[in-house]
Amino acid sequence: MDAMNAHAEAIMTHEVHYDEHQAHHHNQSFISKYIFSQDHKTIAKQFLITGIIWAMIGGLFSVLFRLQLGFPGQSFPILETIFGKWAPGGEIKPEFYYALITMHGTILVFFVLTAGLSGTFANLLIPLQAGARDMASPFLNMLSYWFFFLASIVMLSSLFIQTGPAAGGWTVYPPLSALHTASIGSELGMDLWIVSMALFVVSSLLGGINYISTILNMRTKGMSMTRLPLTIWAVFFTAVLGVLSFPVLLSGLILLLFDRNLGTSFYLSDIVVNGQIMPNEGGSAILFQHLFWFLGHPEVYIIILPTMGIVSEIISINSRKPIFGYMAMVGSLFAICTLAFLVWAHHMFVTGMNPLLGSIFVLLTLLIAVPSAIKTFNWLTTMWRGNIRFTPAMLFSIGFVSMFISGGLTGIFVGNSTLDIQLHDTMFVVAHFHIVMGVSAFFGMFAGLYHWFPKMFGRYLNTTLGYIHFWVTLIGAYLIFWPMHYEGLAGMPRRYLDKSPWVSFSQFGDLDRMITIVSIIVYAVQLMFVFNFFYSIFKGRKVTTQNPWKANTLEWTTPIRPGHGNWPGEIPEVHRWPYDYSKDGRDFIPQTEPVGANESNEH
């Protein structure tokens, strides 16, 4: 294919869109500008702000159930004031505890770290960094947000119904999720959960399809795939994962809906509820686990890949050094993306799986350590002897690498099916995935926010608050999650609301109290960040230069507050890869600068 020609054509088509846009720029109403906006930058902000609201709710839930875990049996009258019948006498009811952990997991995994994260950065960065006026289909992009909004409304409403929200864990395993009578959280709340997640899947498919299409088809002239910043590669593979795995979750949920409401028994067999024998015969609960984890495992990479891209970009910029091993970074993203589809059964080692099959999944699972290690190595070597600028974004990126290493190492433990017999469903797993996914992804997201806030709002986030935010969160996260490894190794189960009946766990009483207190502090510091965020939108220090971080990528060639269409004139042409830092004695060379006659060859 004649690449140049194709690019030239792409440019032309961009212009068509742009002119058309100019035409109705003046009479844009408030509604079409801020609410039903088709501008990718506005949609990014919508995803972000919705995500922030969800994060505050989901985070608050974790503080509440930590209160229970740290101080079992103790009464907190304020809980009764707020939650009424769910916390009689100020003590959380068991049903409420399960509702809280279920909603915490669902909200943070899907609503914050999937929609809030990909929705923000894919939307913001794809057109800006690949050089396009907007997404391939701005309309579908807008729909993607509104489906997410609907999903949010449905999930939120489930918090307020009589029987409360779903309460069978974020993995909604049957039979708990498949029988209305199984528990109070299996009533209407569970149906709303399924409906909400179905809407959520539609939203992420619309988004993902659009991201892929835009990245492959709408790059500016000269922007070959290998000149793309790693952020774009990362959101590209994220979208591929989502588009291929979310539909499988949807099929699992459809079968679940049939089982719940129409009398089929795909997942149900030989069940007795409250002494009553259920009529369901011939189903298999394990079937659901297969369908769930076929999404569930790729999902954890849907969460982490975008932050890997963000962190790669920020580390390179703030070390003033080219990223180490660009092609290895792309290759390992690809490897992770492929392997992600082949390892789901490592969540099911203890379901009575054939040991041979189990060992195949062990092998494939441990293989993921290879591309993960390559990436870690490359981040470290990029920083090595760099001229590091410790901006809040950079600190969070370094924190990301630290967390990712810590949590990745425990992945090797749980990835062994034999060890997993001991570790499965203990606090060890909770420690593993919170460090490697939860905290890491949040660090990557914070890094991205501190870094691109100036592009989003034309102002900076407050740096001092940023440093406080970073140090408290880093130290706090380790204090919270590190001790959980010990609890898990000792066999302490996850998802139990009161472990005091076990004498052998009484040694962890103080530890659990410490964890709870630190969680409260860390949560408060996140609220401080949210304050910083909203305050800085209106009152933050103004950005005065076009390229405040002295970065090479295209988004910094747009005006400080770009309008719809991003570049007032033509979209700039790209002549080089995005990582020419400290080259030939120059601090940085933007992608738009043609390669000089006597420029050295090495990247």
């Binding site: 792409a10 391939a136 588009v243 099929s251 459809i254 049939f258 009398g263 795909f266």
Partner: protein
């Protein structure tokens, strides 16, 4: 707002590309369901069914409709609008007949073979899987209805073949998907 004009000759049109990605994701959904079917069919208490004969009728209908769709597309590209209208209308009608046939098939299964939603055998899977397929066909029929109204009553002349091409791609896809599902149900026992 339309970002893409039909000036891109060599490169695949972004809309069409988007359609292919969407198709990939639909494929994954049915792959999930048919894998579930395979897993379940190897377990105890699996119940077989007899496929109602009418599904063969609907197979012929949807195959013919693919053909008419293709002719409609060709006519559109050659600007033979009269022929285009006739064939897009026939595709729409055939699509509707397909949906009716499928529903008759479901009814026959329900009434003649007493396969209800109780249980988890081939019959229950059939309702879910064929049912979801019919929904996808229904989406295509709606799209055809839109094109058909535009072709007959539209005031604005359409020149770009892209919408018709998109409809055709999707239509052939649901056709192929049906063939796959039919063979699957005949094969996996």
């Amino acid at each position: 707002m339309d970002i893409v004009s039909n000036q891109q000759r060599k490169k695949i049109h972004p809309r069409k590309f988007t359609m292919w990605v969407a198709i990939a994701s639909i494929i994954m959904m049915f792959a999930g369901l048919t894998s579930a079917y395979i897993v379940k069919s190897n377990q105890a208490a699996w119940q077989e069914i007899e496929l109602p004969k009418i599904f063969w009728g609907s197979t012929i209908v949807i195959l013919v409709s693919s053909l008419t769709m293709q002719i409609a597309l060709r006519s559109f590209k050659q600007r033979e609008m009269r022929q285009y209208r006739v064939f897009i209308a026939s595709t729409f009608l055939l699509g509707s007949v397909f949906i009716i046939f499928q529903c008759i098939g479901f009814l026959q299964l329900w009434e003649q073979q007493q396969v209800t939603l109780k249980g988890s055998g081939a019959g229950q899977f059939l309702y879910v899987i064929f049912g979801l397929h019919v929904l996808h066909v229904f989406g295509g029929v709606i799209a055809l209805l839109v094109m058909f109204t535009r072709a007959f009553f539209g005031k604005i002349k359409m020149y770009s073949p892209v919408p018709v091409e998109l409809a055709a791609t999707y239509w052939h896809f649901v056709d192929a998907l049906w063939i796959y599902l039919l063979i699957f149900f005949l094969w996996v026992r």
